[in-house]
Symmetry: C2
Subunit: 434 residues, 2 copies
C-alpha cells in the first residue's frame, strides 16, 4: 500500500503548528473585538466571475478554478474583499453604517510556476464600509498596528509605510503624467523595490513620458516624511489638499497612540488597481521578509461588485510572513501541551473511582486525562509528565478504602491527600482560570 501524501503547497497543521496558528488567530480576534469589529465569513468557493469582474480575466491563471457538476465556473477564494463586497452589497440598505467587519478566511492561489510556494494561507481581513472621513483611515491602521503590539512586536521591529493614491496622482499630474497614464505609472512604481531603476525608466519611457516627467516621478517616490512632502509640493495647490489630509491622518494616529510606527513613503502604491486613497503596508523593520500586511481605501469597489455606492477601506494580513517574523523574535508561544490533571489508578475499584473523579474534575472546568490501562504507577506518572499535567490524581486500593485521592504536584513531586468529595472544588480553585 503506497502511503498517501497531501497536496504540494498545502500545510498539515499538527497540534504544534495548530497552536501557533491559534495564537495568531486569537490575537487577531482579540484586537478586532477591542476595536468593535464584528466577525463574518463567506464561502471558500465562489463564482469565478466575482474575481474576474474585479481583477479582469488575467486573474484566472492565478486561481484554483474549475467547473462544478452543475456547469458553473467556480474558484476557491483567492481573497476576501470580493466576498465582503458581495455580502455587504446584498444587504446594504439594512446594515448600520459604518459597517465594521472582520474575517479570518483561508485563501487559495495556484500559479503553475509557483513551485515550492504555499498555495493557501490564512488572512485577517478587517474593513470599514460607509465612512469617508480620514479618521476611519487612521482607525484602520491603528487596528493593524495594535495587532503588532499585541503579538509583542514594537516600532523598532515593524514599520508602517503610508502613501496616498490621490497625493501621488496630483504629483504625477503636476509633473506631466496624463490622466489615462496614471494606472500604468502606478504599475511601474509598484516594482521599484524588485527591479532595477533603468528597466523601470525604460518602461516609463515606453508609456510616452518625457525625461523630466520620469525624473519627477522618481523624485516623488523618494519623498519620505510629511515635512519633505510639504517642502517639495506644499506650494502646489492640487497637491496641498492631499498633504493636509495626510497631516490630519498622522495627527489622528498620534492620538490613537501608534504614530511611532508610521513612515510616509510615496514609493508605496499597492499593486491592485482598486485603491483610491491612503494606502499602507506593514513591513519588518529590516525588510528582510515580504510585507506583513497591506491595505487602504477602495471607495469604488462596492459599486463594481455590488452596484452599491459605498466608500470602503480595509486591510489583509496573512499568517505566513507574520508567523515567520514572530518566530525570528521568539514571540511565538512555546510548543508543548498543557493539562490540568492526569488521573492514575490501580485495580478495578481504583478505575471506577478514577472515572468518577475525572467526571467531577472536568465538570469543574479542568482539563483531565485518565489512564486507560491498569499499568504500574511509575509508568502512569511518566505519562502524566509527558502530557504536561500539573497534577496527578492517584487512586489505588488504599486511597479508595480511605475515600481520599493522593494528589501529586508534578513540578515539585510533593504529594498530599484530598477527600473524594472535596477533590474537584479543591483542584479547580488551585488550577482554574479564576
Amino acid at each position: 500500500m503506497v502511503e498517501l501524501k497531501g497536496l504540494p503547497g498545502f500545510r498539515d497543521f499538527y497540534p504544534e503548528e495548530l497552536a501557533a496558528r491559534s495564537f495568531l488567530l486569537g490575537v487577531w480576534k482579540e484586537v478586532a473585538r477591542r476595536y468593535g469589529f464584528e466577525e463574518y465569513d463567506g464561502p471558500p468557493l465562489e463564482p469565478l466571475e466575482l474575481y474576474t469582474r474585479k481583477s479582469g480575466d488575467e486573474i484566472v491563471q492565478q486561481l484554483y478554478e474549475f467547473e462544478d457538476k452543475g456547469g458553473r465556473r467556480v474558484a476557491l477564494r483567492p481573497e476576501m474583499t470580493p466576498t465582503l463586497a458581495r455580502m455587504v452589497g446584498a444587504r446594504a440598505p439594512a446594515l448600520r453604517k459604518p459597517v465594521r467587519w472582520f474575517s479570518t478566511p483561508q485563501l487559495f492561489r495556484y500559479e503553475r510556476k509557483q513551485r515550492g510556494r504555499l498555495r493557501e494561507h490564512f488572512q485577517l481581513n478587517l474593513d470599514i464600509l460607509g465612512e469617508v472621513d480620514v479618521l476611519a483611515d487612521a482607525e484602520l491602521l491603528a487596528a493593524a498596528l495594535d495587532i503588532m503590539r499585541a503579538t509583542g512586536l514594537d516600532a523598532t521591529q515593524v514599520r508602517a509605510r503610508v502613501s496616498d493614491r490621490r497625493v501621488l496622482a496630483a504629483i504625477f499630474r503636476h509633473v506631466g503624467v496624463a490622466e489615462e497614464t496614471l494606472e500604468p505609472v502606478y504599475g511601474v512604481v509598484d516594482k521599484l523595490e524588485r527591479e532595477p531603476r533603468e528597466r523601470l525608466e525604460a518602461q516609463l519611457k515606453n508609456l510616452g513620458l518625457e525625461p523630466q516627467t520620469i525624473a519627477g516621478i522618481f523624485e516623488a517616490t523618494q519623498l519620505r516624511g510629511i515635512e519633505e512632502l510639504e517642502a517639495r509640493f506644499g506650494g502646489v495647490p492640487s497637491v496641498s489638499e492631499g498633504i493636509a489630509e495626510l497631516s490630519k491622518y498622522l495627527e489622528h494616529l498620534e492620538d490613537l497612540g501608534v504614530r511611532e510606527f508610521v513612515d510616509i513613503d510615496l514609493s508605496v502604491v499597492r499593486g491592485l488597481a482598486y485603491y483610491t486613497g491612503i494606502v499602507f503596508e506593514l513591513w519588518d523593520a529590516q525588510r528582510k521578509l515580504r510585507a506583513i500586511c497591506g491595505g487602504g481605501r477602495y471607495d469604488e469597489l462596492l459599486q463594481l461588485i455590488a452596484g452599491v455606492d459605498m466608500p470602503a477601506l480595509g486591510f489583509g494580513m496573512g499568517d505566513v510572513v507574520l508567523s515567520e517574523l514572530l518566530r525570528d523574535h521568539g514571540l511565538l508561544p512555546k510548543p508543548g501541551r498543557s493539562l490540568d490533571c492526569f488521573v492514575a489508578w490501580l485495580g478495578a475499584d481504583g478505575q471506577r473511582h478514577a472515572l468518577r473523579a475525572t467526571q467531577a474534575l472536568r465538570s469543574a472546568g479542568l482539563s483531565v486525562i485518565f489512564e486507560f490501562r491498569d499499568r504500574r504507577l511509575a509508568n502512569q506518572l511518566k505519562s502524566a509528565d509527558q502530557l504536561g499535567a500539573r497534577r496527578a490524581v492517584i487512586l489505588g486500593p488504599k486511597e479508595v478504602e480511605e475515600k481520599q485521592a493522593r494528589v501529586r504536584d508534578m513540578s515539585t513531586g510533593a504529594e498530599r491527600v484530598v477527600r473524594f468529595d472535596e477533590l474537584a472544588a479543591t483542584l479547580a480553585a488551585e488550577l482554574g482560570d479564576g
Copy 2:
C-alpha cells in the same frame, strides 16, 4: 451591473449567523480541551485518491472533485477521517499513544440531485488512536454527550443510540448469515428507518438468505437495552463475549456520568463500511431531525490509508442539525452585538481627547468604538444605543476644559464624571472580565 450571488448550497455568515457558529465551535473546543484533546487541521483540498481508497470509486459522484493545473485529481474534503489517518499515519512512530486529537473542519459534498441542500457544513471530529480498551469507547461517547450538556441539552432532549458491529456480526452469523454476506446485510439494516420492511425483506431475500435468517435479523435489530440482549442471546457463546464488553462499556459510561443519555439499540449499524466495533449515533429525543452525531470504532482504517496498524475510534458532529435543535429549544445565544464603550465627542478638542480615551480604554482590554463625525450628541448617543454599548464616554468642550469625561450608563441613563487619568482603570474595573 448584475448583482452577484454566492453559489447555491453555500452559506454566507453575516455577523448574527457567525455568532451562532462561534458559539457552537466554542462549546466544541471547550469540551475537547476539558477532555484533554489537542487540535489539528489539514488541507481543505486533498488528493482524490485519499477518498476513493477508503470508500471506493462511487464516492466520486458525491464530491467536489476536479483536476488542478498540475494535472492532479483533487477533491474538497467531504470528511476529515481520511486526512486524520494520513497525518497520524505519516508520523505514527513519533506520536505519543493514545493520540487524542480534534478538529473542526468545513466539509463539502456535491451530489447533482441534491437541490436545496447545503453543500458545506462544519463538523467536529474527535478521535482517539492507539487504544483498544473499551474504556476509550466510553470516553469518546462521554465527550460527545458532555458537548450536549455544555450546550444546555439534557437526556430528555438528546439520546445516544449504541450498537456494536461485533455483537451484530455474532448474532447475524448465529441466525445463519454467511461471513461474506455480513457487509450487504449491514447495508440493508442501515435503511431500517427510511424504507418499508417489505422492501428490506426482499433485499435480504435477494442476498440468498432463508426466511428464518431474515426473521432472526429483524428480531435482532429490534432488541433494545442490555437486558433484552442478554435474555435473548446471552446463552450464545459467540455473542456473550460482546455482550459482556457492552456491559462494561455501560458501566464506564455510568462512572463517567453520562449513562442516562444512552440506549442500546441494535438497529444502528452506521452506513460506512469501515466500522469494526461499538458504533453510536446521537439523535434528538423525538427523532424529528437527522442524526446529530455519529461515530464508533474503526480499527482497520489506518492500515488501509496509511499502512499503519493502529486501532482507532472517533465521531463527527455537524453544525447544521445541532444548531437546528438548539434553536428549537431556545439554546442559541441571543442575537445582538455587545460593546463596552462608545466614545462621543464635540469639537476638535473633544475629538482629540476622544481618540486618546479610546486608545487608553482599548489598551485596558475594553471593546470601544468612537464617533467618526462631529454630530449632535443626541445622534451620537443613539448610535451608542444601537451598538449595544454599556457605557457612553462623552467628551465636549466643558469636559475637555475640566479634564474629565462624562460617563453615561446606557442601561439606566445615569451619568457621572471621571477624571481623564482614571478613566481607563475605572471602566476596566467596572466592565472588564476580571
